[in-house]
Symmetry: C2
Subunit: 463 residues, 2 copies
């Protein structure tokens, strides 16, 4: 979220949970703040599981795998062709598992739009009936090595990026970013939305696919991400540098492989006009880095943190198939003119894979523009990152923050430390309208809900 | 200077003048530091000239003009065709006026190379004889609304960017940046240097010229610069963001106007491979912004700060044609492997136009990577900028620094304040080998010499 994309709407209100300085800073700017002085349940450090597994050693291995991952953009393909197990009636969505009946407005809107886009329904009403009638299988992106921002819908014929973790060989997937405004991922549907999606599939995708295929060795996303964190991005709400660096990496290949100069210029222009284009790649890179940590017995490090707009869900490296969920939270946000918090859907999207992998909100110190955007200062941005070290197992060896003298980002959220400190992960996010069919209404910050961490901690005690 | 371009050479030595914290930080890292505790001559604030002119009001007008300038890249052309007054035997150079006999090695090397490149001499020896014999007229770039990095040589057939200050209508000029290593501006000559210069004139220039000419309204350099300062650049030694943003702005036009895809890709690749490509544009933008302040009676604000490798020179808005000079200083630098401070030429180049216009070293807080590169911390970078507010008349309204909560950069160096505080301007720079024909050997930081400010202050007292 660039500071140029949103306008401040008065009066702004905020609820501050935890760190006092953020509340003080807001208050100093005459923004009403309710400080919730949450006292965490103090728990003793768990060193071994009931089965005798050394948790520290397990976590060290989990974080080693995350930090040593090297995600490289190696290709593109249609979801049904490249994502293992995809089928023609499968629709993936963000967050933990959910059926149509409990889906929030924007996720329903995105599903309806995707079914019309796929030609499975003639209009959104028919699409809703189809979805409600069980004709579509829903599954989390995370069950298919994929991630999607906001509603996170991936339908069979959507093109996806293929990210390969060169260290461990695993693959991850994400769609192309549509831009801002009325876009499917924020729950919008309609002719303008479908037209853009078709252009992205018919023009953008083949052009990028040919360019990426021509690059020997692909594009090293970890290197781009590391540079972007030195250029004011945090890889989640701010991606201006990442998008710039991606264009630097891919453009000569576009020029050489695209025979149509106007098409090349249109493709470049589409990406250039959307500073969030890099977000989906940043997310797929995060997914590719985190997944090798799954399945280490005794590891209490998060491998998934994701929201479907109804529920917030986490998974741990030591029990990677099990979701621990809690109601999705309200975002402390700023809104586009004409919208208020009353229009906002709760927290939604897989983009918290960035925080899970050690950047995004955890690298807020790299992107003071975001702190300022929500009424904070550069000092608040520093403190936000400093606080996240308290709940992380390690500091990243590949990603670092200039303002902290190039200290590695906090990486590897340890459920034990969250419970011991009472500090909940900080998340940056966009805000979707709560009704289907409308789209983005703002952006902001929040924390993960306490309950799913408590449930995960209880599960650890039973390991 | 990106941190990836230079390797630390041990043992590093540094001389620190003024701000103690920088020395302390170096010392904490076991780098030998000599702290020169220079005590400034305290002078009383001058409010009016002898002729009764209100200096504060004059300076306010000078800085208003600098800050309100809006430099836009509007075109390109050959120096002899677009720079007013150019002729076939004129060679422009960086810094204050100087003849062949006093020119330093790298400036001589660049002149010799330029004469061979122009076809005025068959080889460098003949070129040196020609230059020594008075067959060439030398003049500072600054006398022709131009600026050049390092040796700063502009010869008749070199292509230049044309920067228009849309607020005041004045034009400024700079050549295309050659990249790093063995390049003319660092005093290198030879077939590899000429081959690159010819490619830049025959391929790069016409391609960029056609692209820029096709852009309605040109490219707003102030907007790019403002964004770059939010992305880890300071616009002098670090230009990775500026170069990225320039590519975003110009590439669709290259794609549309260049009929040859391979040529387009080669041009894009040349810029993409050189994070300093933006430097010359940043400099021309600075020159375009500062020049309208020239000729305001009583204004003690610097409009020029430039070095020819032998002398350091400044000029003031209130007496714009007069140079005040002092010996060029030694750079506190890091060196490429195989080189030491003994190889270093003194401070050289017009690139201090960036500090004169309120960024570069004055915006060090925006680019902690540079502070780190010379052994400092992010805190040192903040303090470097904070110190420069002490000698500047104002804070920039268009350029700001995220880490200082988007405070405007210090702009408008006031000779009075330099004398009152004893704080000398901080400069970032590259380092050229002292012998002609070799090239770049390192990069670093230093301060402007005291003597020229004292001379300027004496001149003010006679106004």
């Amino acid at each position: 979220m660039s500071e140029t994309h949103l306008l401040l709407q008065a009066p702004l209100q905020a609820i501050n949970v935890g760190l006092q300085s953020f509340a003080a800073s807001l208050a100093a700017q005459d923004i009403p703040v309710t400080h919730v002085d949450w006292q965490p349940p103090r728990v003793p450090r768990l060193h071994r599981t009931g089965a005798g597994v050394d948790i520290e050693a397990a976590n060290a291995e989990a974080v080693r795998r995350i930090v040593q991952g090297r995600p490289v953009l190696v290709g593109m393909g249609l979801a049904r062709e490249v994502i293992p197990g995809f089928h023609d009636r499968l629709v993936l969505h963000a967050g933990p598992p959910i059926g149509w009946e409990r889906m929030c407005g924007p996720q329903r809107g995105a599903v309806m739009g995707a079914l019309v886009y796929e030609g499975l329904a003639r209009d959104e009403q028919e699409a809703a009936a189809l979805a409600a009638g069980g004709a579509v299988e829903f599954a989390p992106c995370h069950h298919y090595h994929a991630v999607g921002p906001m509603a996170g819908v991936i339908s069979p014929s959507m093109p996806v990026f293929v990210m390969k973790n060169e260290t461990f060989g695993n693959l991850a997937y994400a769609t192309q970013n549509e831009g801002l405004g009325r876009v499917l991922r924020y729950g919008a549907f309609g002719p303008d939305v479908y037209q853009r999606l078709h252009w992205m599939a018919d023009v953008l995708y083949p052009t990028l696919q040919a360019a990426i295929a021509s690059l020997d060795g692909g594009i090293d996303l970890r290197a781009l991400l590391a540079q972007a964190l030195h250029m004011g991005d945090e890889g989640h709400n701010r991606n201006r540098a990442g998008t710039s660096l991606l264009l630097r990496a891919v453009t000569p290949a576009i020029m050489r492989t695209c025979p149509d100069r106007e098409r090349a210029a249109a493709v470049f222009g589409f990406i250039e006009q959307n500073d969030h284009f890099f977000l989906n790649l940043s997310m797929a890179a995060g997914k590719a880095m985190v997944e090798p940590a799954e399945g280490i017995p005794g590891a209490t490090i998060l491998t998934v943190m994701a929201r479907n707009g109804t529920d917030f869900g986490i998974r741990m490296a030591g029990e990677p198939q099990r979701w621990f969920t809690a109601p999705a939270g309200a975002v402390q946000g700023l809104y586009f003119p004409g919208y208020t918090a009353a229009d906002a859907n709760p927290d939604i999207g897989d983009s918290t894979v960035t925080e899970t992998a050690g950047y995004g909100g955890f690298a807020m110190a790299a992107a003071p523009a975001i702190a300022r955007f929500v009424g904070g200062t550069a000092q608040d941005a520093l403190e936000a990152t400093l606080e996240m070290y308290e709940i992380c197992f390690a500091e990243h060896e590949q990603l670092s923050i200039p303002a902290l003298d190039f200290r590695g980002t906090p990486v590897g959220i340890d459920v034990r430390k969250v419970l011991e400190t009472g500090i909940l992960p900080r998340l940056n996010t966009g805000i979707a309208h709560r009704e289907p069919g409308i789209g983005m209404v703002g952006a902001g910050v929040l924390r993960a809900p306490e309950e799913c961490f408590q449930a995960a901690f209880e599960a650890i005690q039973a390991w």
